[in-house]
Amino acid sequence: MSAVQRIRAVARAEAAVLRRNRWLAVATLIMVVFAVALSLAGSAPTGTLGVDMLTVSVASMTTLAVYLIPLLALLISFDAVAGEADRGALGLLLSYPASRAEILLGKAVAHVAALSVACVVGFGVAGGLAVALGGAGADSLWALARLMGTSVLLGAVFVGLGYVLSSLAGSSAAAAGLSAALWLVFVVLYDLALLAAVVLDGDGGFTRSAFPWVMTANPADAFRLWNIAGSDTVAVAAGMTGAADALPRWAAPASLILWPSVAFWLARAAFRRVEP
């Protein structure tokens, strides 16, 4: 399979770049430091809620991941196409018998793998610490595993969206700016807008029927809902039982599993329009 060979060639080169420019080390360090700090700081209510410490730790880390993982994913991906164009290497890359989808896939494999390492190590260290200090049950261990898996999916979504912006921007600097705006929209403004709509609507039709679905459509919120609704004890610890109950169980997982494909499809469409 020569397509596999080409994807692997791109992925190998990208992985070497991430290792050598210390991106992998720095991202992993950031994840470890933030995850450990948050799960220790959030461990106070353990006794009052009647859950083990790992459960509280996962709830804290879920909140952290919603902000940090899209940011890391965009940081790693915003330069993927624009950087090659800036260096004058894009035309050369595209003169080889590799399709644009293969080039993007190769980069995505390396970028998502690097994010996965950072997530698994970061959450693993923090989770291990919580287990050592306060114990864990089958439910909370399962919640930790789900947090790692969904974090990789969330990262993949924003890696793909980063490629979209990188293709549309035309230069690295513009791509960086657009990425910051995208992060702000998905992670902060979207929720604020929903909150405003709910406040204005009161207990109307939007709040009762449309709101949970609109919320799930955002991958960052789907990530939060899946992790919190997936485990009753985590929901208790996060104080979010109500919001999670309004939707069928499959809604948030479906959204988060679909989003990486959608993002990648958009990225391929945007990359195809790039003329080096």
Partner: protein
């Protein structure tokens, strides 16, 4: 199968024609220089041949296949102008990437790096390479998998004379092995000796496409005889006798058509010891280029 065949290629960009009825053929083993001012359409033509940009009319065939198609991409090698590779990677890693993309699983990367003189720097980061070394690495990826057609955009820009010489030696080997080579460049004096044919683009039109000799004949540019007089007083006499122009105290410049050269030399030899030296300058590529591309306009 001809490696490159362009016929009546037309491309418009925001209303103006950037390529206007351009036809060009490059045979196996031929080295063709593509000349033209900045913005004359050289890079656009190369990108069209690579399938990176579309054309609005005419046809381009790379070994009989459409530009950008799988078989065409496998047949073509490309060296972009001033390419910068990922500085964090080593030369060997970058070459391994391109070998993987080209499907050259068993390419001997060490031998290729040695061929372009990068054996010692193969495992150093590209960030530490000089401009010449990066250009050599670019050339190494051109040599991957014996291309049928090589498109080189300003391959010698920024290179020192020794590197230029090495680079042209590699290009000569490539052509000798049957690769059709198209070189877009401004370095006219190098191309003069190193190419078999000259194609000149002017505002998107192909205004010349022939061997240097044929172009010189077609242009009818004068041969310049530079005569040095034995003494100051003789210079004016020589200028008057031969119809030349005195350009300083003892030098005279005589311009004549190729056919008139021998007559002028006879007349000069008739002047005996008044003439100290004669230098004959046939029209060079620079003169031809200026003629066909319309001076500085």
């Amino acid at each position: 199968m001809t490696p490159l065949l362009c016929h009546d290629v037309f491309k418009r960009r925001s209303g103006t024609a950037v390529l206007d009825a351009v036809s060009l053929a490059v045979a196996p083993g031929a080295r063709v220089a593509l000349l033209g001012h900045n913005g004359a359409g050289k890079s656009t033509l190369i990108k069209a041949v690579l399938g990176l940009t579309g054309i609005d009319g005419g046809t381009i065939a790379v070994c009989g296949d459409a530009p950008g198609s799988g078989p065409a991409r496998r047949a073509v090698a490309y060296l972009p102008e001033a390419v910068a590779f990922q500085g964090a990677l080593t030369g060997r890693e970058v070459l391994a990437l391109f070998a993987g993309l080209a499907g050259e699983r068993r390419a001997d990367l060490g031998a290729l790096l040695d061929r372009v003189g990068l054996a010692a720097a193969a495992d150093r980061r590209i960030a530490t390479y000089s401009k010449g070394m990066r250009q050599r690495l670019g050339l190494a990826q051109v040599l991957l998998g014996r291309p049928r057609l090589a498109l080189l955009d300003e391959p010698t820009s920024g290179l020192d004379p020794v590197s230029r010489h090495d680079l042209y030696a590699i290009i000569d080997d490539l052509a000798a092995a049957g690769t059709a080579v198209l070189i877009a460049s401004h370095a006219l004096t190098e191309l003069e000796a190193r190419t078999d044919r000259i194609a000149i683009l002017r505002q998107g039109r192909m205004v010349a496409d022939d061997t240097l000799d044929a172009l010189a004949r077609a242009a009818g540019l004068p041969i310049v005889l530079r005569v040095r007089a034995a003494e100051t007083g003789a210079a004016d006499r020589i200028a008057a006798e031969t119809g030349g122009a005195r350009i300083n105290g003892t030098s005279i410049e005589i311009r004549c058509a190729a056919e008139g050269k021998m007559r002028a030399l006879h007349r000069l030899s008739g002047l005996g010891p008044a003439v100290a030296d004669i230098d004959i300058a046939p029209p060079g590529l620079e003169d031809l280029y200026r003629h066909f591309s319309g001076g500085m306009s």
